[in-house]
Each structure stands twice: as structure tokens, then as C-alpha cells.
């Protein structure tokens, strides 16, 4: 076919690919395959869970293998269609991405199991499990891609899947919430696209490793501050940071509780991940310049989130504010920029993925047992199930950041990093947030669990299938609270990999271009 054979080795991968590299693309591909099969079989309601839960378990296994591989060998890259970067789209897994992906997979598995009891047959017929798998395809793809436009595409994949999930059931309340969720998230991703367009205009490349290298080389004459600021706004909106957070409390309490749980665990954290990726890895100098703005936003987010939680009577909305407050802590860690701050932000994000999901699940079970989500009429849950109350209390403490649970350590890391640079007021804000969150969640425990039931409780049994994932997630938060060393070492390693992306760039351009 080739009349004038060109030198293909300049553009194509010609060496065989080691099988382990396939782990990088497998998570999204696996989710898409499973999601497609589920969508084809959506008439057979019984098969859905039977296929989806093993598929999600498989995703956890794949991500765990990938984590082991990356922890041992450093970042791994695979390019699409064997086009060499920066021409081809690269998938690059580094520790940060894989840690997020694994936590996301665990959360999704827990959600999938929890949904056995929470999603009824009509919800399954409308496609809960296919949407969940497609959501996971988007989430895993976003965490593992090494191309910024591809990141945008995965954002849209997960956004479309989340639209499907949030309107599941189509009650008027849900439509109302979905409208606010859909419009504001769409504007955020459009802003992301605008910025990516400018970035392409400036660098002529979309590969993140390439951008990081070129930005480091030509920082002086490139308008990188604009890009960094625009990314901060776009991803801050996705992450529900303070002035642009209003879509979250308007929508997260409207869908099925397990959907809220998955959203709380996955979606805002994708925004945080993208912030880490762009501001820490691509534009570290600009992040330094912006750090005062970021820290202001972070402090405002955490305090207003905690104060918002104090003012809510619907426990689902209350947890929505707790989610926002956690975002503030992550932003504070991000603004510090030191390994402790970034590591704390990553650790807190992982902790928040697990705990916020579990909190929503607990709220769902509380609502199911007591027949209401309103603090004014909730009560008597302790008498109903002591085990469930104990689990909830652990989760409340973990969310507030009290020792010995997993929320404690990242807050310590962030507060320590803040004090190290003399920002005592930031450490004070983190502590005050923990205090306010403890009050808000402690009041939930006092009213909904300890208080005798104000009205006759509906006779509802505790579904064992719904309790199992709650036990699993709670065990995770206790486990990482008691034995944080291993994870802490991993996140510090991940933070160093972000701050000094030589290994990342070397994995994309092996010959050290």
C-alpha cells in the first residue's frame, strides 16, 4: 500500500507491548463492556445484579493489580492505536490516579451491593446497573488518562451516566434537582473545554506529560496563569467549592439514596483529582501564585459547608453539606503545595470517597427504619438496631475527623503542613470545621438515634444486604484510622510524583525526550 515508505518508528510503537501495560486501559474498557452487556439485557431484571456485582468486583481486582504494578514499577503508559505520544492519546497510570481509581472501584462495589436492597425492580429496569457501570467507565477513565482532552471526554461520559442515575425514577423532585445539577455541571465542563482549547492554542499538544515538560521549559513567555485560573474555576465548580457549590445541596438529596451515596463518593472527587493533576503537576508555579485565592476558597468552603450542615433538618441535605466541607479541607491541602499538604489532600479525598458514600448509605437506612429523613421526626434508631447505630457513630466521627478513624490523619497532615509555613489560621480553620461537623453530626446522633421515637415507627426490618457494604466501608475507615502508615507512605509517594513529574513524563516519553 505504501508507495513511499516513511520511517514508521518515529510515529508508531513497533515493539510488542507487555501484558501488564494492558492493566492501564482495562478499567474503563472493562466497565464499558460490562455496561453494554447490562444495557442489552435490561429487560431481564434478575440478571442485572448477577452480572453487575461480579463485574464491579472484577474492577476492584483490576485496579488493585494496577496499584501493585504501579507501586512496584512507577507510572505505566499505554498509547491508543500505537501512535506514539504526543500524537496518540496516552493512558498513564501514576500512583495518584490509581489510588483514586481503586477507591472509586471499592465505593462502586459497595454501592452496587447496597443497591440490591435500595433499588427496586423498576429502578433496575430503568437501568441502574448499566448507568453505574458507565459511570465507573467515566470515573476510571478520568483517573487513568494522560491526555487532557481525553479527560474532558471521560468527564462527559461520567456526566451522562450521572444524568441517567439522578433521574432514575423520574419523580418531580428529582427532575427539579436534576435540572440544576445538569445545567451547572454542563457549564463547568464547557468551561473546562474552553480552557483546554486555549491550552491547545498555547502548547499545540494535549498530552499532559508533554504539557508539563513544555510548561516547565517555557514558563516565562506563556500565559499560563490564565489557564491555571480557568481550570481552578472549572474544576472547583465540579468539586463544589464555595462560591460555585450550589448545585450540590440542590440536587444530591433528590435521587435514590444509593445514587446520592455514589455521587458523594465519586463525582466531586473527580473534580479534586483534576485540580491536583492540572494545578500541581502541570502548573505548579501558577498554583503557588494562586495559593492565597485557593486557600480562601478552601477555608470558606469548609466553614460554610459545616455551618450549612448545622442548619439542615433533612439528613440527606445535611450530609451534602458535610461533603462540601470536606472539599474545603482538600483545597486547603492543595493550596499549601508542600508534600504534606498535597499528600493530605489525596488522603482526605480517598477517605472522603469511602466515608461520604457510607454516610449516605447510613442516612438511607435510617430513613428506611424510621420512615423519615427529617430530624424533627426521626428518633428511636438506637432501640431499633444497636449495630447500625454503632456503625453510624463511627462514620460520624470519621467524617468529623476525630481519631482513631481515617479522617483524622489527613487533617493532621494538612494542619501540620499549614503550621509549618506559619499559617496557623488555616490549621485553626481545619480544626474549627472538625468541631462544627462534630456538632452537626453529633446532633443527628442525639436526635435520630438516642431520642425516643416521637411517633410510632413503621415496622421495617433491617435488610442484611444493605448493611453489608456499610460494614465493609466502616471497616475500611477504622482500618486506615488505626493503621495509616502504609497508606500514608503511598499518598506521600503519590504527592511527590505529582510535584515532580519526571517519572510520569519518563513513562510517556521513555527515551527522555
Amino acid at each position: 500500500m505504501a508507495a513511499n515508505p516513511a520511517d514508521l518508528s518515529a510515529a508508531l510503537v513497533l515493539t510488542p507491548v507487555p501484558a501488564a501495560d494492558w492493566l492501564v486501559v482495562l478499567p474503563p474498557a472493562w466497565c464499558i463492556l460490562a455496561g453494554a452487556v447490562l444495557l442489552m439485557l435490561r429487560k431481564s431484571v434478575r440478571l442485572q445484579a448477577l452480572i453487575a456485582i461480579p463485574a464491579l468486583a472484577g474492577l476492584v481486582v483490576i485496579d488493585a493489580l494496577l496499584l501493585a504494578h504501579v507501586a512496584a514499577n512507577g507510572p505505566v503508559t499505554m498509547v491508543m492505536g500505537r501512535w506514539l505520544p504526543p500524537f496518540g492519546i496516552a493512558f498513564t497510570a501514576d500512583l495518584t490516579g490509581v489510588l483514586f481509581a481503586l477507591a472509586g472501584a471499592v465505593v462502586a462495589l459497595a454501592g452496587g451491593v447496597h443497591a440490591l436492597a435500595d433499588i427496586d425492580a423498576s429502578g433496575r429496569r430503568y437501568g441502574f446497573y448499566p448507568f453505574l457501570l458507565l459511570l465507573m467507565a467515566g470515573v476510571s477513565g478520568a483517573f487513568l488518562t494522560g491526555d487532557i482532552f481525553n479527560l474532558y471526554v471521560w468527564f462527559e461520559v461520567l456526566l451522562i451516566a450521572s444524568f441517567g442515575l439522578i433521574t432514575l425514577g423520574s419523580e418531580p423532585r428529582q427532575i427539579d434537582g436534576a435540572i440544576k445539577y445538569a445545567f451547572l455541571n454542563l457549564i463547568a465542563t464547557t468551561l473546562f473545554l474552553v480552557t483546554t482549547g486555549y491550552l491547545y492554542g498555547i502548547f499545540g499538544t494535549l498530552n499532559m506529560a508533554d504539557i508539563a515538560a513544555k510548561a516547565a521549559a517555557g514558563r516565562a513567555e506563556l500565559p499560563l496563569m490564565t489557564l491555571a485560573t480557568l481550570y481552578f474555576v472549572a474544576f472547583g465548580m465540579k468539586a463544589a467549592a464555595f462560591p460555585v457549590n450550589f448545585w450540590l445541596p440542590a440536587s444530591y438529596h433528590t435521587p435514590r439514596v444509593v445514587v446520592s451515596a455514589l455521587f458523594a463518593g465519586l463525582l466531586t472527587k473527580v473534580g479534586i483529582y483534576a485540580l491536583l493533576r492540572t494545578l500541581v503537576m502541570l502548573f505548579p508555579v501558577e498554583r503557588e501564585e494562586l495559593s492565597f485565592l485557593i486557600v480562601l476558597v478552601g477555608v470558606a468552603t469548609m466553614l460554610l459547608g459545616a455551618l450549612g450542615a448545622l442548619g439542615q433538618s433533612d439528613i440527606r441535605r445535611l450530609i451534602g453539606y458535610v461533603v462540601i466541607s470536606g472539599i474545603g479541607v482538600m483545597l486547603a491541602g492543595l493550596s499549601l503545595g508542600s508534600p504534606g499538604g498535597i499528600g493530605g489532600a489525596i488522603f482526605y479525598a480517598l477517605h472522603s470517597m469511602v466515608v461520604m458514600t457510607a454516610l449516605y448509605m447510613a442516612a438511607g437506612l435510617a430513613g428506611r427504619l424510621a420512615g423519615s429523613f427529617d430530624l424533627n421526626s426521626l428518633g428511636g434508631l438506637y432501640g431499633r438496631s444497636a449495630l447500625f447505630s454503632a456503625l453510624s457513630l463511627v462514620l460520624f466521627f470519621a467524617a468529623a475527623g476525630l481519631p482513631p478513624f481515617s479522617g483524622f490523619w489527613p487533617k493532621v497532615m494538612v494542619a501540620k503542613a499549614a503550621i509549618d509555613i506559619g499559617a496557623w489560621w488555616l490549621a485553626a480553620a481545619v480544626l474549627a470545621t472538625g468541631f462544627l461537623t462534630t456538632i452537626a453530626l453529633g446532633r443527628v446522633f442525639a436526635l435520630a438515634y438516642w431520642r425516643p421515637a416521637p411517633m410510632a415507627l413503621p415496622v421495617q426490618t433491617m435488610p442484611a444486604g444493605a448493611l453489608l457494604p456499610l460494614v465493609l466501608l466502616t471497616a475500611l475507615t477504622v482500618g486506615f484510622g488505626l493503621f495509616p502508615e502504609r497508606l500514608m507512605a503511598l499518598v506521600q509517594h503519590a504527592a511527590q510524583g505529582l510535584a515532580d513529574p519526571r517519572a510520569y513524563i519518563g513513562s510517556v516519553f521513555p527515551e527522555g525526550k
Binding site: 510503537v13 510488542p16 507491548v17 501484558a19 501495560d21 494492558w22 486501559v25 474498557a29 464499558i32 463492556l33 455496561g35 453494554a36 452487556v37 447490562l38 444495557l39 442489552m40 435490561r42 429487560k43 499505554m78 498509547v79 491508543m80 492505536g81 500505537r82 493512558f91 430503568y126 437501568g127 448499566p130 423520574s170
Partner: protein
């Protein structure tokens, strides 16, 4: 729109456009065309059929649920990418075979399989949205 002329012409127009959409799909590898644009042409064909004969007729004509069609497309597109795992090349590398059928060499490739998947995704997804808008029920 429900005139006699339109109703008479619509089935022919639909068949012609469906055929043309497949032509555009297959042409797409080296020339302008491809799965996405081909799929859009096929959806327009179905839309014409739907406007003339009602959505029940479209659903009957498709036989499968539109969402199942698009899911199948997604499945084979993803499979086309994973095929390259068996040959030691990266994800989504184009693989070609040239079987000779009745003396004619027919180039087949994983790229074409992928494009067919895209075609089916577009046909399924946009038909289901169009039908939902037409009927006013849920997607």
C-alpha cells in the same frame, strides 16, 4: 405532514437513506464519511419513517429496543479495541485481514468493526431520544 404523498414516498425514502447510510459508513475509512455521520443519516431515515407512520411503526421496524442497539454498538466498538491484545500491540491498533471471496479481495479491519459500533451507538441513542421526544415518555 400526514399527506398521502408523504406516506407513500416515506418507505422508499427510508430504505434509500438507510442504504446510503451504510455506504457512507463503509466509505469512511479513507475518505470523508464514517460511523457517526452514517448513523445520523440512518436516524434521519428512521425519523422520516416515524413522521409518516408513527413511532409504533418505527419500534416495530427496528425490532430491537434502540437502547439495546446502541449498547451492542458500544460492545463491539470496545471489543474492536481489545482485539489488539491478542497481537501484542497497544489498545485500538488497527488490524487488517484480506480474505478473498469469489475472486475479490475484501479488506476487513478492526477499525471498521469500531466504526460499525459507532454507527450502531449513534443510531440507537439518537433514535431513542427522538422517539422519546415524539412520544413524550421517558428515554
Amino acid at each position: 405532514m400526514n399527506t398521502l404523498i408523504f406516506r407513500t414516498v416515506a418507505p422508499f425514502l427510508t430504505a434509500l437513506m438507510a442504504l446510503f447510510s451504510i455506504f457512507v459508513l463503509l466509505r469512511g475509512h479513507n475518505e470523508p464519511g464514517g460511523g457517526f455521520i452514517g448513523g445520523l443519516i440512518a436516524v434521519s431515515a428512521l425519523a422520516i419513517f416515524g413522521i409518516a407512520n408513527g413511532i409504533a411503526a418505527v419500534r416495530r421496524a427496528l425490532w430491537f429496543h434502540p437502547m439495546a442497539i446502541s449498547a451492542f454498538g458500544l460492545f463491539i466498538a470496545c471489543l474492536a479495541g481489545l482485539l489488539s491484545a491478542a497481537f501484542g500491540v497497544p489498545f485500538m491498533t488497527g488490524l487488517w485481514v484480506y480474505p478473498v471471496v469469489l475472486g475479490v479481495e475484501i479488506p476487513l479491519s478492526s477499525v471498521m468493526l469500531f466504526d460499525t459500533g459507532v454507527y450502531l451507538v449513534v443510531v440507537g441513542a439518537i433514535t431513542s431520544i427522538a422517539l422519546a421526544l415524539e412520544a413524550g415518555d421517558d428515554v
